[in-house]
Amino acid sequence: MRLAILIACLALSSSVGAVATTGDNDLAIAQSLAEMLRDARTVISEKQDLINDPNLGDKHLTGEAVLNQAVELYTKATGVDPRKTDVSTRQARLLRAMMAAIVEVVDDNQATINEKGTGFKGFIPAAFARLVDEAFERLAKGEADVKVTAPSELVRNRKARPDTWEADIIKTKLLDPAWPTGQPYSAIAEADGRPAFRFMVPEYYGESCLTCHGTPKGEMDITGYPKEGGKLNDLGAVISITLYH
């Protein structure tokens, strides 16, 4: 529940203002992928109580159900229904891959979600987002990657570790006190040796985030992981989207 709040707090403070270092299409694709990921993550966050209810078996929280609520949120945020986009476009194709990944992950974890008798199940927004990223990577077939990373000291799962470029941008840009809060960073850069459009969306700790990531530093949170000692509005995560050219 609190993790849901935590993840929800990692809202994209602004979807505009990205440094326009490439074409508007790449930026739009990256923004839409990020938005969809965050919306689905928000749904999972909001459903934590349901998911962690040990007394309830089938929660009817299927992939489709989650996607519908995510789409609803996405539509509300962007004014665009992702299901109705032109499938011939790269944006639509990648967005559909994202949605398919969301459905796949939720459906693949139905046994976990519906397990009766277990309270906290670890199907938290972060894990959900990572699984979605992995599924998206597979479904996108090398066309794009989505990763929720963070400053190295805040990364909990090594799969979310920033690569060298990401780590550098986080350090030099997003963590720069002069960097406008919430402003994404985008650039054309190599990824895995390929030219790509890279888009970095900073996410900041909200009040609810600090339940698991705040103080006292080192104290165990509900997942058994030591708190990072973060403070309100500290940079907590970065959605990194790579669009390979």
């Binding site: 990364v155 909990r156 799962n157 090594r158 570790r161 992981y225 030591p226």
Partner: protein
């Protein structure tokens, strides 16, 4: 020990203690250092063990987190694995000095494990699980080898540590034993030294205390401990000086007291022997000599004669008495001539003055002497000599003291001589006075007796003539009456008829009267005869007489005479005659007369007491005792009558003194008896009496005939 000062002793004791302490500490410090080194070695080994164990633990943690990382992919596990790796490196760094080669081997295995495990994790991260498993299996081989290496290191280190600890324990035990022995020895030596030091201090101090107590109690003869070179020795020297001073003071005081005592004796008593004894005793005492003598000087013979001594042996006294010193010889004469004491330091060396006296002294073991003259106003009274068994000169003080004693002795002798002269004169005067008084009394008595005798003889002569007429005419008248009775009897028939009976009665009465006249005439004649006898003295003849029979006869005669006068008179007569009494020469009729007087007086006394005393329990007793006293015969006449007071006893033998009523006594009985016993028989007559108790006359008659001297021998007992 006592040769050292107390400070040196204490320093020695402290130094010895410190030395033992230092040696012990050095030894213990060295042993402790060795033990510490061993402990440090052991500690290092334990630290190495700990490091090895910690390395093992860190390696285990590392493996755990690497495994966790492979599964969870959490960066936390990665960080923890890295941290464990780092700790392990630190522990291995700590262990490296112990055995670099072994640690390098561990590190090699560790690196290989880490590399393979890291690759395995990466493969798991990239979801290449099969490759990951393969790599992890390879890594596990290195993990086992590293584990074995670390375990062997731990075991080796543990063995080393145990051995090191055992060595340390053994060394510590040995050091403990040795230190205990050292401490015990140090305590023993320290106790011994302390005891010796304390003893060397306490014992002399105790002796000093005893000496001081003795001095405080006035004992100047107390032994002062020998003065050593230490502080106590200084105290002992001071105390000895104090004792000597005290001794001198006391001696001076004693000398003064002695002189005062001698002076007081000289002044208070004229008993020369006592004074001279005191003088010579004090002289010997204060001169610390063994013997002292005082000699008198006889001006007539010009000799010094032994008078008295103190401490001299009887044999020496005999010598000294037997050999007077002629004036001009010996130390006494020298002293008398010089007027001051002369001393002989060594009698054996003074051959020039070796007189018999000195020989006697020397033979008795005396070696030195002082002789001081008894001089007063240039008159020599004698000499004082003190001698001792030690040779050597006497001190000036002693010489002065002896001179003072001699002066006192001279005074005493002079005083005594003056007193003796005075006393002799007084004695002579008193004797002369007594003799004069006795002579006077005798003269008066004799004169009185003479005049009384003359008077009595005159009176008796004057009375006797008329009395002869009375007696003769009474006898003649009686005869005439007889003739008249015969004449009347011839013509009795003619007269009987008328007044014959009356005539006869008248003749009878007249005859009775004549008898009375004749009787009293005879009595008067007897008195006169007695008076004449008294005035003339005894004239009877002496003859050997059985005194017991004489006494018995006189007693019977007296008793019957008394009974004749008074029929009611009765008395118990007790006779205690000495059967061994042999006859002695006396004038029996005179002694009878004496006895009759004494018995008559006794009967009178008991009769008077019986008359005066209403107590019927009174039993008149007259006891007569004779006793042979070898050369004397004693006759005691004791009655339990009225007794007599002393004033009467004093006059008892005075002529005409009587306590009887007029007509019952002449007052001449005892006076005559006295003359008979004392003057005629040379005996004694004494009387003892207690009023209302008894009166006892004691006569003693000598067997040898001797006329009494003129002096009376009357003794009146109280």
């Amino acid at each position: 020990m006592t040769r050292l000062t107390i400070r040196a002793r204490l320093i020695l004791l402290t130094t010895a203690g410190l030395l033992v302490l230092v040696v012990t500490n050095v030894y213990l410090t060295r042993e402790l250092a060795d033990d510490t080194a061993g402990i440090i070695r052991t500690a290092k080994l334990l630290k190495s063990i700990e490091e090895a164990n910690n390395a093992q633990i860190a390696f285990g943690e590392m493996r755990y987190w690497m495994t966790d990382l492979a599964v969870s992919q959490l960066t936390l596990a990665e960080r923890n694995a890295a941290a464990a790796r780092a700790r392990m490196e630190q522990h291995l760094d700590q262990l490296a000095p112990w055995n670099q080669e072994r640690i390098d081997a561990v590190r090699s295995e560790l690196s290989q494990y880490e590399e393979l495990a890291g690759k395995a994790v990466d493969e798991y991260t990239d979801d290449r699980r099969i490759i990951g498993n393969s790599l992890l299996a390879q890594a596990r081989q290195h993990s086992l080898v590293a584990d074995q290496l670390l375990a062997s290191i731990v075991k080796e280190l543990t063995d080393d540590a145990i051995a090191a600890r055992r060595r340390v324990v053994a060394e510590a035990a040995t050091a403990t034993q040795i230190s205990e022995i050292i401490i015990a020895a140090a305590i023993l030596i320290g106790a011994l030294l302390t005891f010796l030091v304390l003893r060397s201090i306490v014992l002399p101090l105790r002796r000093l205390t005893v000496a001081m107590d003795g001095l405080r109690a006035g004992d100047v003869a107390v032994t002062i401990p020998e003065a050593g070179p230490d502080e106590i020795g200084a105290m002992a020297r001071t105390l000895a000086m104090f004792r000597d001073t005290l001794k001198e003071l006391r001696e001076t005081l004693a000398q003064f007291e002695a002189l005062r005592a001698v002076g007081r004796a000289v002044g208070s008593t004229l008993e020369l022997e006592a004074v001279l004894s005191i003088v010579v005793a004090r002289a010997v005492e204060f001169s610390r000599a063994q013997v002292g003598m005082i000699y008198d000087y006889d001006e007539a013979t010009r000799e010094f004669r032994f008078r008295t001594s103190q401490g001299a042996e009887p044999e020496l006294i005999g010598h000294l008495k037997a050999e007077p010193i002629r004036f001009g010889e010996g130390p006494i004469s020298a002293a008398a001539l010089s007027g001051s004491p002369t001393q002989v330091g060594d009698l054996l060396g003074e051959q020039d003055v070796a007189l018999p006296k000195l020989d006697a002294l020397a033979q008795s073991g005396y070696r030195s002497l002082i002789a001081a003259p008894l001089l007063h106003e240039d008159e020599i009274f004698g000499g004082l000599v003190v001698a001792r068994r030690e040779a050597g000169e006497f001190s000036k003080e002693i010489v002065g003291l002896i001179e003072a004693f001699a002066t006192q002795s001279a005074l005493a002798v002079r005083n005594a001589k003056q007193f003796e002269d005075q006393r002799q004169r007084e004695h002579d005067l008193r004797i002369a006075h007594e003799e004069l008084k006795a002579a006077q009394a005798s003269l008066v008595h004799a004169e009185k007796m003479a005049s009384l005798g003359q008077l009595t003889a005159g009176i008796a002569h004057e009375i006797r003539n008329p009395l002869n007429f009375v007696n003769n005419f009474a006898e003649l008248s009686h005869e005439l009456l007889e003739e008249l009775r015969e004449a009347i009897g011839g013509e009795a028939d003619g007269i009987k008829g008328g007044a014959d009976a009356d005539i006869d009665e008248l003749i009878t009465i007249l005859g009775g009267n004549m008898s009375k006249i004749a009787e009293h005439g005879r009595r008067a004649d007897s008195i006169v005869t007695s008076m004449l006898l008294h005035s003339r003295g005894g004239t009877g003849e002496r003859r050997r007489t059985d005194l017991n029979a004489l006494v018995d006869e006189a007693l019977n005669l007296a008793f019957h005479g008394a009974r004749a006068q008074d029929r009611s008179f009765n008395v118990t007569l007790e006779r205690d005659f000495d059967p061994s009494l042999t006859p002695l020469e006396i004038v029996p009729q005179d002694i009878t007369r004496v006895l009759l007087n004494l018995f008559g007086n006794g009967f009178y006394a008991v009769k008077k007491r019986r008359d005066e005393q209403s107590d019927s329990a009174y039993q008149p007793i007259l006891r007569v005792t004779t006793l042979d006293l070898e050369g004397q015969v004693e006759i005691r006449v004791r009655d339990n009558g009225i007794g007599m007071p002393p004033e009467i006893r004093a006059k008892l033998f005075t002529p005409f003194f009587t306590t009887k009523p007029t007509g019952e006594g002449t007052g001449l009985g005892l006076s005559i008896s006295y003359d008979i016993v004392v003057q005629e028989h040379g005996g004694t007559i004494t009387v003892d009496s207690q009023p209302r108790e008894f009166t006892e006359f004691t006569l003693r008659l000598p067997r040898a005939s001797q006329r009494a001297a003129a002096a009376p021998s009357v003794r009146v007992s109280a």
